[in-house]
Symmetry: C2
Subunit: 245 residues, 2 copies
DNA sequence: TGAATATCCGGCCGATCAGCGGGGTTTACA
DNA sequence: TGTAAACCCCGCTGATCGGCCGGATATTCA
């Protein structure tokens, strides 16, 4: 298995690098699933752009029927892959889920009917700006093989997941906000976020108190915020307020 | 090489899992470096706790002389590993650095004198709460081997780096803030962060405007914030203000 | 050449915040 | 059984914010 995996790794990695649009990404996902002998591969990204309300990004090899069914039944609300996947740092083995709850059992039962494997892995990716990705694969393996194969999968997929997320970010995301705020506006916002008052901010930057307020006002407008506090919150999500180190 | 790597991978992974204190972590780093035939291995973590000013965390196999020298010369200010490593998502090949600047050339020159390898990789890890880790290795390889070996290294180290970061987080970090804020305090803070006024917040939560202010006041005290805006900023860094999905 | 944008500064006024004081009940834990 | 902490409410005051009006120059870009 090791060799197959290695060649798949290389080719998939370069294929991801070559992706330039939504469609070729779907193709890559299919090739990835095929190359690794998987039942399914899925990438799910949230909060990719700086905006507050933002549609999730989906690139999956699931049948459209399963996707539809999943949405209809609103499985997202209880899907442990989603619920814990985005909340942790380390990869997730689907075997680890407690399947006592009725809806969760239903979910995994029906998933198998729609062709998903009984074994699964989910790898969270955390971006720098609150953006998150979740790369999940499923396959059918015997219990005794799974422990070994899982490790092989893990190290390939951790890398692939990161590259996937990075690629999706480049395709879909971001940047929209960062350019908008002028240097002064950002400076003021940063100091306000540090708990300074407008007066202190003015002193620090060598401006008049009024000028600082004007910058904050235009910042609020640009970020669509109803208060400085709101603006700081939005800016934080957009990753504008990260200290130099 | 593939086999060596694989066995190192397994053992290192379980060793990391077993780490329970600072000292055993240093040991693991040394074993890791030895197991993979590296000149050095280093983990560097920042913003591990929710607090605003927080010392970086260091676990390295470098000689203490090099660490001292590095600090004295204040290389951190110009070290491209640090400067770009924390700002990106994907791993970093040290070959990619522009070494035109004088101090950068000095840095890499002196690093080699202190036993670091000429080839190097740095893998950023992004946590969920603004915490970041940077796992770097160096080794001596011929250019022609490097491209191949790098890939092998990458997929192992991406996993190891994540596990390392997770372990350090558990050892050092966090949690301190999250417990402190009561449910009400957090609710109020969240709505304030969404741009609501205290009055709106009170209406939403079915409280008196005054009660909301009291919660915000105690929140500010607990977070050591000088304004609601400041509190939101701190809470954001601590990861308290992440929306449910 | 004009339009847009970034950079600055002023005044005004009502709404809101920040900080201080006081009071109480309920729940959990030692 | 006390005690701590969460939960809830009220008063007061001065400082600050938020929004609105006005003005100016410099640079960038189509």
């Amino acid at each position: 298995m090791s060799d197959i995996v290695y060649s798949s790794f290389n080719t998939t990695l370069s294929h991801i690098a070559d992706v330039s649009d939504r469609e070729s990404l779907d193709t890559v996902m299919k090739e990835l699933a095929a190359g690794y002998g998987l039942n399914s591969a899925a990438y799910f990204g949230i909060r990719l752009s700086g905006r507050s309300n933002n549609d999730p990004f989906l690139a999956v090899t699931y049948s459209s029927e399963w996707v539809e069914h999943y949405k209809e039944r609103r499985f997202v609300e209880i899907d442990p892959v989603i619920q814990s996947g985005f909340r942790r740092l380390l990869p997730l083995d689907w075997d680890g889920f407690v399947r006592t709850e009725e809806r969760v059992k239903t979910l995994f039962g029906e998933a198998a009917e729609f062709g998903l494997g009984r074994k699964g892995l989910s790898i969270p990716v955390h971006g720098r700006h609150g953006d998150r990705g979740l790369f999940s694969i499923s396959c059918d393996r015997a219990d005794r093989d799974w422990a070994h194969d899982k490790l092989l999968y893990l190290r390939d997929f951790q890398v692939l997941a990161t590259h996937l997320h990075d690629k999706v970010l480049r395709l879909e995301g971001h940047s929209s906000l960062e350019r908008h705020l002028s240097a002064r506006e950002l400076e003021c916002l940063q100091w306000i976020a540090e708990g300074k008052t407008a007066w202190e901010c003015a002193t620090i930057l060598g401006l008049s108190q009024h000028t600082v307020r004007c910058y904050l006002e235009s910042t609020r407008h640009k970020l669509n915020a109803s208060s400085n506090t709101h603006a700081v919150s939005i800016a934080h999500r957009a990753g504008l307020l990260l200290p130099p180190l």
